[in-house]
Point group: C2
């Protein structure tokens, strides 16, 4: 225990501390480690971790390489479970142990990230993440959770079929990069705090966005991705984590990229992640996805033996194996000379440096140690869960019926497979919530009489006998609400969707309900489905997308219906027509349309078809107009400002040139309608610059303004960097190109500003080039293994794993 | 109540009968119907049904068109539930009501049909079906089940991904046709009994064998099938039901065929089913699959209104709507003049004629009325469930280790996701079983010590921490058994498989277990997966396919391991390499290979690749040789018998010329080994005759011989009809062609006989030609509706449903 703690604190903390140590913390107070540097809070974190690992025997080192670490009992170093989840609140997982009743029997359950992404509100995300890390610390203090959380999931949601799209903030890499920066800030407690609140884990690095499609499984799939697509689309969220947000951990993914399983790929884990992005602190570690090290051997068949597989992963820079494959097979691999003990040491030092930075060895010196269950599900947290849902819900159609005053003299018929939703609202990676306020609860709060017909339910199962009450209720109602869509039964981890349409049964019920000629709304829940029939039916008054809105989602939905909350969420993904999925294989990683393959392209940047709703769609109860508060700097031609590229880059002294400022452009947002409302300013760039083809547009800035009163104005600032303007060439280099640029505000632009860059193109970032592509022979991968950084890892100079 | 019942019977039956009537039987004894002809057991069944329906009001008629019929309370006609299930034993379903405990809390649970199909034993199937219908009658007598069972599922299992393949006897249409003939015989109690035991329902008519694939859902899918494929492959099981087995009911399917939803297709339901196959008895009815009438409207969009949809289905010949769509929408359709009351009457007469033939109105006169729960799960039924599993299990690899004597001094390590199987063994469409003897039970019966490690489980979920006990147990064991494969979590109704491979985790565990150098067997459970790695691994002693073996499956498996039962089952499907499913879309209904689309063809008849195991594969513990007991008739050249086609057809006086005999060829099967064993004689035809391309071979006869002792001989007879020899032309006509023919016995032929047909080709069956193909315009189907038989159905001569 640190000698720095005052006597008064000790008097209070002594018993509590002993209790803490008994609850799974290291015995720094009185155990064998008390004189080891690891327990010296004044020492350098790296030195502390090295001192600890030096006391390990080789066997103890090999034993502590899995997600469930046995620790070292003889040293008083307890077992530790690295695998904890908190995607949208502390969640069930191997390291998290909810109580059955009473304290720690629940945690705040926020909406799924796809809904929080729709809020386009970075400040909200930071606040949510701060609540999550606070609650996590409270759980940790009572040995009900670890300090490492394997969240966020930031693979861009590019294919509407993906079963895990709900876990992500959406399809746009700029949006995700900004979202995750704020999320990590809230989870970890700032960029480089003395004590991290918790360690976040950016996953899944990289190119993972398919569970199973047409014989391709995530565990064995080899994603073919060009350097251009990789840098432009798949990497930005991860660059944000590693280079710009100082995240504590990464998770490599199940899939291979261009022939190499990511967990055994030194090009990704060393050349890109650590070297190019400077993610080289001793406290930063990489875990495999669960059993992904096993998958290097089977089913990837990347190596010929299991020992080569574990060595390939360890040597590539995978520090923790989620699973037991390291523990089971590293001993034999070591005997075969497939890795050096120093590599093992490095992995362990990274792990324990990270725990040092979390205050794992520092007892009550850590400020978060006083958090208890009274800090869980506080009124603030509950209000924030409601706000997150209300901000993320998106109004997609409204014939003017909404907002609707609903009084106690009215009757609502609430129909559909989400009418009675409880845990459905949480989606996946959830824990027990303090309450689950579904649509029925929300409807009841209006004071109206509510008639609930939860059927026809689910995804296309026959409804047969369950129709009858629906028509009675519709007959009796003043307002008809259909709450339905998809849920985890058709899109989950391990299961991609096979349809992005409503089922026939759902559309049939909706269509019949619309015939009653009453105010009739559809709340479309879960992921996006093709809403064309809802839009086209003139008897459906309104359409609201509710996603997976979390513990207070039902209330938030009805608050929007009644106008208690004005909607301002925006779709964070493209809503495609149902036929889209038959036009492009899930395995096609290319973003751009392709006449040869027939691909219509992916995401709002490249899709050549007519979306049902485009990325960023979302209606309000009021109207806004936008004006630029002033012209661009340097130049005073608002519609044709010109900038010389060499001037722009010449002024730039940043280590990473894409971060250099281009301009900060203030926007005035005027509420010209009659209802106080939030507004999300979306700034898209378009224009002819850089390599062809040109994207339709690219999101480069966003800002949510809150509570703009009728007739009033608020100002947002669009910050454009040189990186904002740059595009990516065939080699993955980020280049500032001469050409025409236009900044458009909102999806149907409410304001536009044009400018031009002149002079020679300048490369802002040179992308490390990948090694030679590997090919399969006789079912095994051969050739081109490793990158320059990896050579010489073995004493005899051979390349591990492949002879 | 019939006056024909004697006083003695009445004295006994009176109270029992009243009790029966109180339990959901019509009140013929004392109710308003007692003087109605329907209660006169001496009257003609058709007259009885007509008399009943004449007493219905129009509203009562319209109300009794769904799967849950309210009956007519004022007449003492009780509610009736048409939807009962009994795929492999009486099963949970709307009409079947198991008790929680005690009597009627279980029924015999046989293996899934895919396993019973592998037995290739028609006599077994008839015996199983007789037990099922006996138990169903016992349930019915106590108002725990109806008398109509929506079984069998006989769509040929042509794509290994299909989630409902386990419900079928396999991929071969001849095999299924013969299987189902015997099944219906057992279920219904013969071809035309006075009282049917139960009514069987052949489903799903026709072309249904995909749940969901790449955006195609069963509810909306339009299968494009040529007349040749239809007659050759998709129709034979249904022809067997309708034309050759006098089945009581058909179910039309969700999908469309060539532009028409089957439930609204008069070509299929009238021209083919009723007219061409002569399925025109008054007691024969068609039900829709559940909500398939709704699906005609949505999502097929076959009609522009819901009223047109119900009228189209009723007019086409769908007599019962599984669902409430008829009940909800027929009234308005009637008001709109979209169907005649006589059509409605016909549907109701069919339903109630069928109930008359079941003795529904005949009280204790029905011989099955005395069956009670003591007739359920009898020792005979239990023994039969064991036998069905033992006969269906297939031995695929054996290095001589099996059979293995296992004594009480030995230890078995039983590992894998099926090690602890209970309900897994039943598959789907199951009811509670009297017991579930899984692999653990079977292993325990050997007397050995059994160490069970049920993990790593499931389909590819991370195994992480669950590996550890496996290696300990393998270390301790004398014999290692891996029991695993797939189950309903990856292939079920509504969900097709996305992989036909073992998961990497499974193969990894299997591979590591094989390294212990001990006797090691794999029991591959569920549907087929690519067993290449098991075959190629020399350290794996044996491979057994166990499928879904039912209530006694675990015991049957170990009885084969120990040699208590000698294996003789044969694969009823092709086992394809894992890559097969990426070579052909599920939606491709074509059987023949196609160079343009890259299709390698389907089923053993057409697949051009190298199967992992071909259809009919199965090893024994002994050896067999085959000889033809005598030459072909007419001609005495055993290797080149020649027949003139006009002679063959000239001798034929059958109504259906394909039924005419060609030859009965006795086979002598000699057991040349040392173990008593069953043997399945499979007779394939091959040769150059008829339209090109020629199939590799076609199964045309099979027979299971039982208990052939070492050194002894049993005789089977191969019955070939003219239909056996015929092939199908482009128009679907069945034609006897001149050319060379060879009869091969077994997959690696143990005997072969050649013959030739000469002269002109003769058509045995002219296939009714389909109406003009329909096409979609603006999302709705137009053009070519209906066939000649349907014209003039409406009073004004218009075609219903499409203007």
């Amino acid at each position: 225990m640190s000698a720095l703690l005052g006597a008064a604190v000790l008097a209070l903390a002594g018993p509590a501390l002993a209790q803490l140590e008994g609850r799974g913390f290291p015995e720094c107070h009185q155990g064998p480690l008390k004189n080891n540097t690891v327990c010296d809070t004044s020492a350098d974190p790296l030195d502390r971790a090295i001192a600890l690992i030096k006391t390990f025997t080789l066997e103890e080192k090999l034993n502590n390489t899995g997600s469930t670490s046995p620790g070292v009992p003889r040293l008083g170093l307890p077992a530790y479970t690295w695998w904890n989840e908190a995607l949208h609140g502390v969640a069930d997982s191997p390291g998290v142990n909810f109580s059955d009743v009473g304290d720690f029997s629940y945690a705040t359950s926020f909406p799924e990230p796809i809904v929080m992404g729709a809020a386009f509100d970075d400040e909200l995300i930071r606040a949510v993440a701060t609540v999550v890390s606070t609650e996590a610390r409270a759980f940790n203090n009572f040995d009900r959770a670890g300090l490492d959380f394997w969240t966020p999931n930031i693979n861009p949601y590019k294919d509407p079929r993906w079963g895990r799209g709900l876990e992500t903030p959406g399809e746009d890499p700029f949006h995700i990069a900004s979202y995750v920066h704020n999320l990590i800030d809230g989870l970890q407690g700032g960029y480089d705090p003395k004590y991290k609140r918790v360690v976040a884990t950016c996953k899944h690095f990289v190119g993972y966005d398919m569970e199973s499609w047409n014989g391709n499984y995530r565990y064995q799939w080899d994603a073919q991705i060009s350097s251009q697509d990789l840098v432009e689309y798949y990497m930005p969220p991860f660059q944000s984590c590693a280079r710009d947000s100082n995240v504590g951990a990464f998770m490599c993914s199940y899939n291979a990229v261009n022939g190499r399983p990511t967990c055994a790929d030194p090009y990704l884990l060393n050349d890109i992640l650590r070297e190019h992005w400077g993610w080289t602190e001793e406290q930063q570690w990489v875990t495999s996805d669960c059993d992904a090290v096993q998958n290097v051997f089977y089913p990837h068949k990347f190596t010929e033996t299991r020992e080569e597989a574990v060595a390939a992963a360890l040597n590539a820079g995978t520090d923790i194996d989620c699973g037991t494959y390291y523990q089971h097979h590293l001993p034999a691999a070591y005997e075969q000379g497939l890795f050096n003990e120093s590599t093992l040491d490095q992995a362990l030092v990274r792990q324990y440096s990270s725990l040092v930075r979390l205050g794992y060895f520092d007892g009550m010196a850590v400020p978060y140690r006083n958090l208890t269950f009274s800090d869980v599900s506080t009124p603030h947290a509950q209000q924030l869960a409601h706000r997150a849902a209300a901000e993320g819900i998106v109004l997609l159609k409204n014939d003017g019926t909404l907002p609707l005053k609903i009084g106690s003299d009215m009757t609502i018929a609430l129909v559909g497979d989400w009418a009675n939703a409880t845990t459905q609202m949480q989606g996946n990676y959830e824990g027990p919530a303090p309450y689950l306020h579904g649509p029925v609860y929300g409807a009841n709060q209006t004071g109206a009489t509510v008639l609930v017909a939860n059927q026809p339910g689910g995804q296309g199962d026959p409804t047969t006998d369950n129709w009858r009450p629906i028509w009675e209720y519709a007959e009796q109602a003043d307002v008809i609400v259909y709450a339905g869509g998809i849920d985890l039964t058709v899109a989950e981890e391990g299961m991609d969707r096979v349809s992005i349409d409503w089922t026939g049964a759902q559309l049939d019920v909706i269509g019949q309900l619309a015939m009653y000629g009453k105010p009739m709304f559809v709340m479309q829940m879960g992921d996006q489905v093709d809403n064309t029939p809802i839009i086209q039916n003139p008897n459906i008054s309104a359409l609201i997308w509710g996603g997976y809105p979390g513990q207070d989602g039902g209330l938030a939905l009805f608050d929007i219906v009644t106008g208690k909350v004005a909607p301002a969420g925006r779709l964070p993904v493209t809503q495609y027509p149902a036929a889209y999925i038959s036009q492009i294989p899930m395995t096609d990683m290319t973003l751009r349309p392709n006449a040869t393959t027939g691909s219509p392209g992916r995401t709002y940047q490249w899709y050549t078809g007519e979306p049902v709703f485009e990325f960023g769609s979302g209606l309000h109860y009021t109207n806004f107009s936008i004006s630029f508060a002033n012209d661009l700097p340097h130049n005073h031609h608002s519609s044709s400002s010109c900038y010389n590229i060499s001037d722009l880059t010449g002024d730039c002294n940043e280590q990473y040139k894409d971060r250099c400022a281009f301009a900060t452009i203030p926007l005035d947002v005027h509420n010209t309608g009659a209802v106080t409302s939030d507004y999300v300013a979306l700034g898209f760039l378009t224009g002819c610059h850089g390599p062809q083809p040109y994207p339709r547009k690219r999101l480069r800035a966003y800002k949510r303004l809150h509570g703009i009163a009728p007739g009033s104005t608020q100002t947002a600032a669009v910050n454009l960097t040189l990186g904002s303007l740059a595009r990516v060439d065939d080699y993955g280099n980020t280049v500032l190109y001469p050409g025409d640029y236009a900044l458009m505000i909102d999806t149907q632009p409410l304001a536009m500003m044009n400018f031009s860059l002149t002079g020679e193109a300048v490369t802002l970032d040179y992308w490390p080039q990948p090694p030679v592509k590997r090919v399969q022979e006789n079912g095994y991968w051969v050739g081109g293994y490793g990158s320059t950084q990896e050579e010489g890892l073995l004493a005899d100079g051979t390349v591990p794993g492949v002879m």
